[in-house]
Symmetry: C2
Subunit: 235 residues, 2 copies
């Protein structure tokens, strides 16, 4: 299965600006992308970067460039992979959208695609396998992010499309329901933890195992347990 990994090459991770320079934010974002691509590849699936600009992905993963906003770029990727949907002119009323289709029905009628955000620095092959396996019991499997986002999903329904604005996890449940697609939710702290704000960096230091964790340690970050919750502070 193709696993699309959206990535912004244009000033990523602006909410980390209180603790990291623009150049550092780009380096950390790239380390997280590399960690996510490696974790996806380790599941046996096929990662594919969807970047806003040119990028040499290591180690040679394919890159598509689409400079539109995230929602538009991901929906174009879904159009191309899920076949007949709203945007590609298909009639969703003709799809098997009763939510009770057998696995065989779904496999026969619809391809699957996953979308995994590039800032999931805690993602492991095990956590991703749980998401991908949830495809067997629903047309759409969602991994909610902290704060109501959608950090990753697998879709196997031709009419499912995304809207990343606002509380996208709840919106995506509504979108799936309106399309007649059954939904499963994957309960994962690793997939719920996107790295957006300074407080998130502590999670990388506690649970991370890859390049992003190494990058933070090399940049002088360490855990500080002197406050309420443990924080990542720079020395």
């Amino acid at each position: 299965m193709e696993v699309v990994v959206p990535f912004s090459t244009d000033g990523p991770k602006s909410r980390l600006s209180p603790v990291l320079s623009a150049a550092e934010r780009s380096e950390l974002a790239r380390a997280m992308l590399d960690d996510v691509l490696a974790a996806v590849a380790a599941t046996g699936n096929d990662p594919r970067v969807l970047a806003t600009g040119a990028l040499d992905a290591d180690p040679g993963f394919p890159v598509d460039v689409d400079d539109r906003p995230l929602t538009d770029a991901v929906n174009a990727a879904l159009d191309a992979r899920l076949g007949a949907g709203t945007a590609s002119g298909g009639d969703p009323d003709l799809s098997d959208g009763d939510g009770d289709a057998s696995d065989d029905d779904r496999t026969a009628s619809t391809s699957s695609v996953a979308v995994v955000m590039a800032d999931l620095a805690l993602a492991t092959p095990d956590a991703l396998d749980r998401l991908f396996a949830a495809r067997q019991r629903a047309d759409v499997a969602l991994a909610p992010g902290r704060g109501g986002g959608t950090n990753a999903f697998v879709a196997a329904h031709p009419a499912f499309r995304v809207d990343y604005h606002g509380t996208s996890y709840l919106d995506h449940r509504r979108i799936a329901a309106a399309a007649g697609a059954s939904v499963a939710t994957v309960d994962s702290h690793r997939l719920a933890t996107d790295i957006d704000e300074p407080a998130d960096l502590a999670e990388v230091l506690i649970h991370g195992e890859g390049r992003a964790c190494d990058w933070l340690r090399d940049a002088g970050f360490a855990l500080d347990a002197s406050g309420g919750r443990v924080a990542a502070t720079r020395t």
Copy 2:
């Protein structure tokens, strides 16, 4: 299996004081406790409140009162349930602590006990079942909390004890290793989300299904997607 649920009756949830009065914090804390007790009971296990003061638990769950700090009170509960440990005078060197004991060995030699925090307002029977099932593959199963805490665990090793100060998730891994106990980690957003700070309230509104979610809605809280991450704001 007994599932101990520590609960503070003395000014709980002080970090929510920016958005809730002391009386409101007590009400919300009690609603979360009731949700956790109900979720534990739904797994078929036996919840037991470990309170710092007198409490009528609904609907009639047993309550033990221990006014010592959390770490001391939980360790006393472990002493009483896991048998020979450091605090009860047993010799941990005599325990089967090679981390490779078969399930039969563990079942024969050691009882199990779980400790689940009372502020896990998102806890569901499914999430707790994943934690409790992890007992089958390790002597100690930990559910890390956001920020490095330990929100829930199951222990079946006589020498495992807790220390909730600091980054307790990492400390508990070290304590288990020093005792020769094997460790499993449960990757759950629901169990990682303890409700301590105003930002956590959004998680209850997004994912909650019980009394705590109802309480927040009745108190006027709603999701606000106007900022970066979705927040819970009061109207």
